[in-house]
Symmetry: C2
Subunit: 315 residues, 2 copies
């Protein structure tokens, strides 16, 4: 099982390569929830998301010979940009497989960090096939976006920093897609403060982590549909047992409240947060949970959303 020593070691490893993101609060949101909420602003992390933590932890863990052959991934999202950036900082190739229909903004971002892109058909089978071919040709190391112990340990450093800054939290929350962030957050939080409550939050339209956690069996995500596109992936096999052991509950929330919360964070807290990152706060707003006077830490997982991509709010 991962422990605090692993997380502290990862933090020392990645510290020169990531940003110590600010923790901010917002009186309007505190009033709305009747609680004190501390946002860990991973939306202001390098490359726009917490993904830089895990990616740097893997890239800077590799032995020199292994690193020299480069790293590969077939994520089209924040992980790809974070991995490209981490690889460039180490001076090694980042070979990124992206579907040919990936959004130009995402493609540009990976290129800007020096990633070498290979386009493939927009199916998981073709992504995996293309990545496998590249690995065979180059000997590069595959870096999974979430289902990897080094990734989990890296992502855990966000909660480590949050609890260093605000040690007396009653509750900490993170969104859950593949589960790397939630598994890491839960590990760091429970190790640093055993009395703390840890909740995951997930869109109702992609509730495989909720169903897995409730049933005790890993349930794959089937036809997920949500505006929180960073949370479409199925829960990872390495993350599931950690989440089962360390997470106290998983809250669900519907898309209209997620979108409304993106607007709330923009308008009241001056924070750009992608829908996936707004899911924990949205879940607190939608579910009838008693929060009176509680001190709540929330990992705002990422920015990376354009104004024009946001449909109008219901507010």
């Amino acid at each position: 099982m991962l422990g605090l020593d692993d997380i502290r070691a990862a933090h020392r490893r990645i510290e020169p390569h990531i940003r110590r993101t600010p923790v901010v609060s917002c009186p309007a949101i505190d009033a709305l929830l009747d609680a004190a909420v501390f946002f860990k602003c991973e939306n202001l992390q390098e490359a726009g998301a917490f993904k830089s933590r895990g990616a740097c932890n893997v890239v800077f863990s590799l032995a020199d010979a292994e690193a020299a052959r480069g790293v590969v991934t077939h994520s089209s999202g924040n992980h790809a940009a974070a991995l490209a950036r981490a690889a460039r900082r180490r001076g090694i190739p980042a070979l990124i497989v992206m579907p040919e229909n990936a959004r130009p903004m995402k493609v540009d971002k990976v290129r800007r960090y020096g990633g070498q892109i290979t386009f493939c058909k927009p199916t998981l089978a073709d992504r995996e096939r293309t990545a496998a071919r590249i690995i065979q040709e180059t000997g590069a190391t595959l870096v999974h976006p979430y289902d990897d112990r080094r990734i989990i340990t890296g992502q855990a450093t966000a909660a480590l920093e949050l609890l260093e800054e605000v040690p007396d939290l009653d509750l900490v929350m993170a969104p859950v897609g593949g589960g790397g962030l939630l598994a890491g957050t839960a590990t760091a939080a429970k190790e640093m403060r055993p009395s703390i409550t840890v909740w995951g939050a997930e869109p109702t339209g992609a509730d495989d982590a909720y169903r897995s956690w409730k049933s005790g069996t890993l349930v794959p995500s089937v036809n997920p549909h949500t505006i929180a596109d960073g949370l479409l992936t199925s829960l990872g096999q390495h993350n599931f047992p950690i989440i089962r052991a360390r997470v106290d509950d998983i809250l669900l929330v519907n898309d209209p409240m997620i979108l409304d919360t993106v607007h709330l964070l923009h308008n009241q807290a001056d924070l750009v947060v992608e829908p996936s990152g707004a899911v924990p706060l949205a879940a607190l707003r939608e579910n009838d949970v008693a929060l009176h006077g509680k001190r709540i830490g929330i990992i705002l997982s990422g920015g990376n959303v354009a104004i024009d991509e946001l449909p109008g709010t219901v507010e």
Copy 2:
């Protein structure tokens, strides 16, 4: 003349009451300008703008007896919220005069920080008359939003922190409306690093500081019109000589580029910045200035803008 000792004293005074805002950079914007840009994120400052610095400096400078009678202002913008917040932290009344047509979001914000609002007609004459009446009745201290030595010194602490974090800047920029932020920024920057260049930036539709600086005579703002509504005010009498002495140039920029830059900062840097705060970066984009390889600090003066308030971009 204000000096670095005054600014450091102000910083010590306000440090417990403000946020040390992060300095962030954005590879996409660096590539666009062919320069290294460091954004001092006062959009993430308490109450959403640098105004908290000056307001706290005044409020915590007052003698106990004076403070006990409260503070007054007739700003309807960020200064009002900042002053209400500062007063509440000191446990004294904040008496805020606001025009009856002020936006509900701004009114709510002042109320949330405990400000006691008196509404008046939306004319400068009625604002001043109402504030004068309150002062006569209560003996409270008027806190001008920008034309006050203690305000200038407080606003200067943003540049102080920026240069502590990034000492080797070639250029530092701030927007100019009443001139408190620019005067403070120029003083801190030139005192800490005499070789630095300091530029102001102003909307073309409210170019009184530009014309005053060029002509050497304080030119009042007449019928200003710009989306950057924080910069509509005329340059203050205390600020003008400081800006004349310390600022190397003032750049102008038109509203479409200001709006486009609000979108750019949102979409590429995950930063919510109100139009006034986007003016320096917009001015660099619009004017044909040689920036190759330069290290540039920009004070992002405030957030405080709702998504729905932003007209569509030309981008």
